[in-house]
Symmetry: C2
Subunit: 485 residues, 2 copies
């Protein structure tokens, strides 16, 4: 296996195909890379320009003043093999290829080019992502070799000021991969990496997961898969992730015939049958998601409560809106969760502070008046203490911080002290101040109640998968002990 560190953490980078024209992709990539405070050297390589956006340009990688770690290739496909060969010969050990026109192109020529890329990468033991990718981002290094508008310097800061844990995106699709970053950053989610892998001629999604698991800095993985390429790698890495307790949240594209047609022409992927991958996913506790926002919202729940996964599927719902409570109850049941009537002791405690027209049965409708008098946190705490439930959904309106500020400290305390996850759904559009308030207090804020329900179900299933793994390992150990004695 080539050294992925050279790809993701290079000290110096050559951009082959760099341009001054920032209306085109070859100029935008330079602009984006130079817009971030990457500490290493950036060398434009261009046949036609001597200065590119203020940087001295070189005619070829062989003329560079030092052997760089990473080559970024954004040139027509037919020139890629010879250029990659030149990189290998010059001692460059990593490349990301953004050019399209390889195996995804109808007819055989592109496939042959891709085979050449693969052969050259193997010969020089180069870590190569792509071709037909959209590059990547390493936020800690402020390195963004991509033309994705999502990574433009004037957009959201790469790293949030407050963050709990880090996530990594690995996606065959460039557009959708960076879209996950785009959806997550306004929610204060921290992305360690966004890597787009395109056709995966050389490095595959699970090679990168493997590297990041070894590195130990990524807590949750968001994977956008079109094809599981090497099945043995998948098995090994998925088992490793489960053992490490690092969830893989996966959207598998190509579930329909039309979708399979699409991924074939997109990245030359053979999507396979949905039933097959679903069985594989279940085995390793992989969370399947169906929408970008759902992936982001479930990941944020994990980063807040991943160490306190629910022991079962019983949910307590606490709401200031009676209609919202009914909606959430229906969503939880649809996701395969249970919403049991609470035990008498918990109900008696909650009833102490409810108006006569509220209810403590579950959903617990504390009413607007109840919240006005006691705040959300106190009711949610009583619910987390119930032996009847394994997790709590708290339904709020995040429209105005005015209604929440008084509750800030009790909410923070609850987040620290609860042993059961508390997920919050705002049924109105949350104000940015409210998103910050909840994030700082340690809660993910869901904008979609079905994502909230699906997330709790996934967390409960994941804990069960981990426990199965543990007892299997004990059984195996018991068996081998027995054999030895």
């Amino acid at each position: 296996m080539p050294d992925i560190t050279k790809l993701l953490w290079p000290r110096s980078v050559a951009i082959i195909g760099a341009s001054s024209d920032t209306t085109g992709l070859r100029g935008r990539i330079v602009q984006i890379m130079c817009g971030h405070p990457f500490a290493g050297a950036i060398y434009p390589v261009s046949r036609s320009e001597t200065v590119v956006q203020g940087l001295k340009a070189y005619r070829s990688v062989v003329e560079l003043p030092e052997p760089v770690d990473l080559a970024v290739l954004i040139i027509p496909a037919r020139f890629v093999p010879q250029e990659l060969e030149r990189c290998g010969a010059a001692g460059i050990r990593a490349a990301t290829i953004l050019s399209s026109g390889f195996a995804e192109e109808p007819g055989g020529e592109g496939a042959a080019l891709q085979e050449q890329v693969r052969t050259i990468a193997n010969r020089y033991d180069m870590a190569v992502s792509g071709p037909n990718g959209e590059g990547f981002a390493n936020t800690a290094a402020a390195l963004c070799p991509t033309f994705s508008p999502v990574m433009e310097a004037e957009a959201t800061p790469l790293v949030p000021s407050v963050a709990r844990g880090q996530t990594a995106v690995i996606s065959q699709s460039g557009g959708m991969g960076f879209a996950l970053f785009d959806h997550g950053r306004p929610r204060n989610m921290s992305f360690r990496y966004v890597v787009t892998t395109g056709n995966e001629a050389c490095l595959e999604t699970f090679d990168l997961v493997d590297y990041m698991l070894d590195e130990g800095r990524t807590d949750v993985f968001l994977l956008l898969l079109e094809e599981v390429k090497t099945v043995s790698t998948f098995h090994r890495v998925a088992a490793k992730a489960l053992a490490a307790g690092k969830p893989l949240i996966v959207a598998k594209l190509g579930q329909s015939e039309a979708g399979r047609r699409a991924v074939l022409s997109h990245t030359a992927a053979c999507a396979g049958a949905p039933a097959d991958h679903r069985a594989l996913f279940e085995r390793y506790g992989i969370v399947e998601a169906h929408d970008p926002t759902e992936m982001i919202e479930i990941a944020s729940a994990w980063m807040a409560f991943g160490s306190r996964l629910p022991a079962g599927k019983r949910v307590g719902i606490c709401t200031s809106s009676g209609g919202g409570g009914a909606w959430a109850a229906d969503a939880c049941v649809a996701a395969g969760l249970h919403v049991p009537i609470l035990d008498a002791q918990t109900r008696a405690l909650i009833d102490l502070d409810l108006p006569s027209y509220g209810t403590s049965q579950n959903p617990v409708d504390v009413t607007a008046q109840g919240v006005h008098q006691r705040g959300y946190a106190e009711f949610a705490r009583r619910l987390t203490n119930s032996p009847t439930v394994d997790s709590v959904v708290l339904i709020i309106t995040g429209r105005s911080p005015r209604l929440l500020i008084r509750d800030r400290e009790p909410l923070q305390r609850l987040a620290r002290e609860t042993e059961k996850p508390v997920l919050i759904w705002s049924y109105t559009q949350p104000a940015p101040e409210c998103i910050d308030l909840f994030n700082e207090a340690g809660y993910p804020l869901f904008t979609n109640v079905h994502h909230c329900a699906h997330g709790l179900r996934a967390m409960a299933d994941y804990r069960a998968a981990r426990e199965r793994l543990g007892s299997n390992q004990k059984t195996m150990k018991g068996l081998s002990d027995g054999l030895v004695s």
Copy 2:
């Protein structure tokens, strides 16, 4: 039937229970009402204050200087019947009751109070919404008798500057009803009314729909139902809405046992069995939705393309992101739509402007380069002209207006000229300028691809339901003509 115009379009309003304390609900409602430029008179009624938030207050409705059209009641439940009686005697013919503690309260006393409300309303032929509602909003009259923070004057303007058609929300749940307004306004959706009906002791959801159908100014209805109260009213009004071509987009709460428990304690509603209402809904082409954002997004599609509903379930997908195309194809198929390979003539036309690694099969992956060269509109237009498809999903990134401004005029022209709906999904978070650009051009902008697919399916089903209705009517007419001749 009492005169609902007195309720929704009063010339003068008394607020019974008005208060100066704007930290409480009784003060907030005055503040919100006075914050909007309602042209009629507002009279606070208070037992303890002589001036409320700068307005002269009256001790009782009998002391008001004129007989008002509408009484807003926000006083403890036990005082509501006697106060409503006083209103009736004083000639007031409409009331909205925001107090809780009626039939939704366990034990019989609240139910008895509710029965008294009903009797008094009937005796005086008063149009009464509630009790246990959260009031309403009539945006054209700038009248907001509610304490919902969503309707605060400093929030979004009540009416958007640009709008295509108007929607009305009718919801038993106050929180969720106003939440729909909250989700829709940032997307430039125009809400004629938001009416929250609570326990529906007197006026029911379908009475209000009936009134609004007769008024003829509402194009799409968003209904949040906990119970269909009077089934005969439902049948009559649902048939009337279908005949008028005004879609009812409904979320039915209480689909699970826990959800039924929740609506019973929320508005004393008997939710009924999901299979029963689903059969009823199908009969009248009612669109069932499961998420607030889904309701808003489908409604916006209708307001843009309601006069050009798809003739069938065949969808053409046009995308600049290959992964996005695969995602959308899977979502369409999951929603029961078809994504057929396009006819040869359309493909040949599209291929003229595709790079070699794009594809015209469907999904049509025009690639980032294709968009850069020809813009989105031209490809979408070629797709709408295909005899193989009934509608088009156009997938874009709405992150930056820079990439779209050049396409503005062709997009506008396409929206005017197409006979097939074109729904747009932005896979990144759309910038406000992009939302405006698409809205002005005449397109709804979806942020969730499943909502987009569900919306197209619902529009196709609705057209089929209307055609069934038409042919039934013709058959009936044919039969009766036959009988006469």
